[in-house]
Amino acid sequence: MAKLVERHTDFVAGATNRNHAAERMNMADFEQLHTAIAALPTVAGIVPVDLLSVPQPLGGAIRGLVRNKAMDTDELAEVIGVTPDEARQLIDLLVEKGYLLTVDGDSGDRPRFCIRYARLQAQHPLGSVSRVSICLSQSNVCCSCAAVKHVSC
């Protein structure tokens, strides 16, 4: 059984050190990252499994937000390896896409950002067999969620 130990530490310092691969990103890489984020679907928050599919180097920033709860533009810029202006563009896009939320800053007027979490949907380890059999009786529409059949149905 996996056992996890969490110690209360100052994440930002740790994250910054770990991600100091954060050499400044060149313009082409920034454009590529911006395009990748723009192509993400709009969601109403994320769940932990989504952390596995966030494009790098944004993954480090998202994990930083999971651990640190909230970071400002400068901190995120440092972790991602972009300028604060570029970071702001990415953050605005992520807020628009439903991945981040703006929270009140502790330090003056500087806005801070945190992960927008989604509600974890119901898991169906029980009753999955009956759901499958019901789905099979329909054409291609799931009777439970009224959507086109998908794997989880």
Partner: protein, 222 residues
């Protein structure tokens, strides 16, 4: 050491760690499930188990149990919960109980609670047995942990048969996963006889397994 330690059972689907601390359903005024449904704050789910397990010397252990009631387990599976609340709860526990360490016990496989726990942890110890089935499952967990950027990853090889060459097993595991083995726990009849009726380290303070666990803690806390 006078540490304050919290132990959270996030194996909501099949909770079990409360048994080690002698906590029964009747002792659970509130559980993690209640917190996730917004019916109590996280601090009120904590049970001080220090005396129960016979810890002396100033340290404190709190257990945050998951509900063992079938209908409450089913409700979580049926209705889901706010993941952000679980993450906030971990943070609040550390602050409100003034914890030095928060130990998160997870489901053996990968699920959302496990992924969140890995993502926020400073250290991860993956327990595995030296058999082919576990080798594969452990590989997946190690890969996920690396992707989530866990700062300190350790492997715990459990139930190592006495006929095995310990060092050979250690080398093989470390080479396979490119990760450090934090402890090699030999198969033990004492552990089997104890049968989760208490903390092994308290019952057998001089046993080799206890020594290995102390070494594991030292590595995680380093």
């Amino acid at each position: 050491m006078e540490e304050a330690v919290g132990v959270v059972d996030t194996d909501i689907q099949s909770p079990g760690i409360h048994v080690l601390f002698g906590v029964t359903e009747a002792d659970m005024k509130h559980s993690l499930n209640d917190y996730l449904w917004g019916t109590c704050d996280i601090k009120s789910t904590a049970v001080d188990v220090t005396q129960r397990v016979g810890i002396s010397g100033g340290g404190t252990i709190y257990l945050i149990p998951s509900s063992v009631k079938t209908n409450e387990i089913a409700r979580v599976l049926r209705e889901g919960y706010d993941v952000g609340l679980l993450n906030d709860g971990f943070e609040d526990l550390i602050k409100q109980l003034k914890l030095d360490v928060l130990l998160i016990d997870t489901h053996p496989g990968l699920n959302e609670e496990t992924l969140l726990s890995i993502a926020i942890s400073d250290g991860l110890a993956i327990v595995m047995r030296p058999d082919q089935q576990d080798y594969q499952g452990t590989g997946v967990t190690v890969e996920v942990a690396r992707k989530l950027g866990v700062p300190r990853l350790l492997l715990v090889v459990n139930k190592v048969p006495k006929t095995f060459d310990k060092e050979q097993v250690r080398e093989r595991v470390e080479e396979t996963y490119a990760a450090q083995v934090g402890a090699m726990l030999p198969h033990s009849d004492h552990m089997m006889v104890l049968g989760s009726s208490g903390l092994f380290t308290q019952q057998f303070p001089d046993h080799p397994i206890t020594g290995e666990l102390r070494q594991l803690v030292a590595l995680l806390m380093a």
